[in-house]
Point group: C2
Chain length 242, copies 2
Amino acid sequence: MAADHLVRKLRAFGPLPQASTDALGALGDRRTRTVPAGQDLISEGDDPRDIYLITDGWACRYKMLDTGARQIVGLFIPGDLCDLHVYVLDRLDHSIGAITPVTVARISQAEMDALCDAHPRVVRAFWWDSLVQSSIQHEWMLSVGQRTALESLANLLCELFLRLRTIGEADGDRCAVPLTHAQFGDILGLTETHVGRTIKRLNAGGCATLKRRTLVIHDLAGLKTLARFNDLYLHRAGGTLP
Amino acid sequence: MAADHLVRKLRAFGPLPQASTDALGALGDRRTRTVPAGQDLISEGDDPRDIYLITDGWACRYKMLDTGARQIVGLFIPGDLCDLHVYVLDRLDHSIGAITPVTVARISQAEMDALCDAHPRVVRAFWWDSLVQSSIQHEWMLSVGQRTALESLANLLCELFLRLRTIGEADGDRCAVPLTHAQFGDILGLTETHVGRTIKRLNAGGCATLKRRTLVIHDLAGLKTLARFNDLYLHRAGGTLP
DNA sequence: CGCTATATTGACTTTGCTCAACCCAGGTGG
DNA sequence: CCACCTGGGTTGAGCAAAGTCAATATAGCG
């Protein structure tokens, strides 16, 4: 079902009763919407009260400067919820854009309320998820502010690999990472050119290889060391992940 | 009363009934705790289920790298709530430190629940506050990633001036900013040395002067331009602030 | 097959970092 | 009351990381 990724992710927080996973699974099955790559997910005329559940494709939350510079402040992969908050904040101060073609399931406030009333474990799992989201924010900030380009890149790839693996989108030691160099740059606060050079250095290092939108992990422990990666921030139930 | 700052801040979101502001005011009046400058607010033995309301002094949320590099990911001034989340996330992946001597009021989960049940407008105001908090996060990320050192500094000073003014801690065109150059550096992702040079450049520019821990705004509009400041992210009820 | 995106490479510039010396103000203790 | 000490703050020279600009290659895609 369409919300499979979400269920897998929430299970990383802790076990969920069957009834809850069934209810979650039903979320993604109707009222979907597809947005082509490069286009914004938020457009005029949509009811912004809905919560979007990404069921397919990658999206990002980003901000722009009048110089044209762009900073991506969050990445959404399948199973991620993006709440638009427009009903609390009068105007959105950022945008959500599709990186690849994206399919979202639209969940109304009413549906969400009903789900939460019926399944208290799910409420807690959603809460956990939103805290992890903000932890990731902090970690990115640490990267952009304090890590070197190579460390930041390694860290991001570690994170993505682990996130993709929990939602079942990694194939052994490899996963698809559909970001262009320019998009990596917008996440890491680097230029396209420098991202290219940094990827080359990473590939030469041997811990991981990123080529043709495919990431292959040869030595996860080595990559984590290189990245000064700290497992803690993803807040998995089991602690450190292999 | 001790929660005055909080009430003023929440009023920037919208009007609050008198009964609600009274209830809020009562929050800060008991169970306080004081932490000296430089020390962490979270220590062993404290009940992390409490929510902390800063009633006096400045604190920050920060993360460290094993190299000793530090990134401050959030600043708390009087009226700010810092939720420790430890009861959802098993282990905290960051710390909260006191920048100046800090006094906090400890609010239990039960008190908070009671307050929220009785005052729906307050719930919404808290929700707004937490969204603004995360908006500020995003804006900082934009600064660290895309703005120049001078732009970032100007932006931070704009934000602090506006935040201090809404809680009534600005005196006309000036306010106290008790950060050392090193702390500015930890926020902006710059070194102490470079912060010093950047402040010198800012002072020479004439829009604002930062000296002896005191910020004086000579030309707010000019400072905003310099900072590529976008009023939107603070989400004040009235929109753009003078 | 050709078009557009993206990636790669190189030469050169700039921003911000490093390291190190020095200064100043405020607090402390004799 | 003064000497000292310490924690900032300031300055300078040299360096490294990342940015800029521009040309060229490559790869998907229609």
